[in-house]
Symmetry: C2
Subunit: 101 residues, 2 copies
């Protein structure tokens, strides 16, 4: 499987593919094509998440840390209950997301 293959340049919504699931951990590929998180509906998860940007580019706002620009290779740990939002995404952008617990 190649995570950079079959990546559309446009889609109505983010495309989330479960790659692997084990006790306590879930690995996803997420393809974004311009989608953002609504300002009034940030993510607030009850588990830690580790994201790695594989291709494209994105803005990520994390409560307490502010907004940063992510480029390929950038990895961020988002602790549980730390509110966060994707503020912009290039089309296409490919993420690896690892959810713990």
């Amino acid at each position: 499987m190649n995570l950079l293959d079959d990546v559309p340049e446009a889609a109505e919504a983010e495309i989330v593919s479960l790659l692997l699931s084990r006790p306590g951990v879930r690995i996803e590929r997420i393809v974004s094509t311009g989608q953002v998180t609504p300002v009034d509906a940030p993510y607030d998860q009850d588990h830690d998440e580790w994201v790695l940007l594989l291709a494209g580019g994105a803005g990520l706002w994390v409560e307490g840390d502010g907004e940063r620009t992510l480029r390929p290779g950038d990895a961020v740990l988002i602790p549980a209950h730390r509110r966060h939002r994707v503020t912009w995404t290039a089309a296409p952008t490919v993420w690896l997301a690892i959810h713990f617990g």
Copy 2:
């Protein structure tokens, strides 16, 4: 942290960096600069491992599957006790390795 930064083009051995550890899962970055697994000493691990090639290129032999060429974006699940070897690596090659259990 950017996983593609600070990647040497030559080193005496593979450079393994622990990125994150949680119950049942360990995430590493591995930088290879030509190193291979000795033919007479394949890996034989007691846990599943999932690898994603981030940059460079490599050959991976897995018992029962034969040898394949990995390019950026390629991901492979190596089940526990499935013997495997890295047969060649470009310099530099960057891997994400996730060890389960």
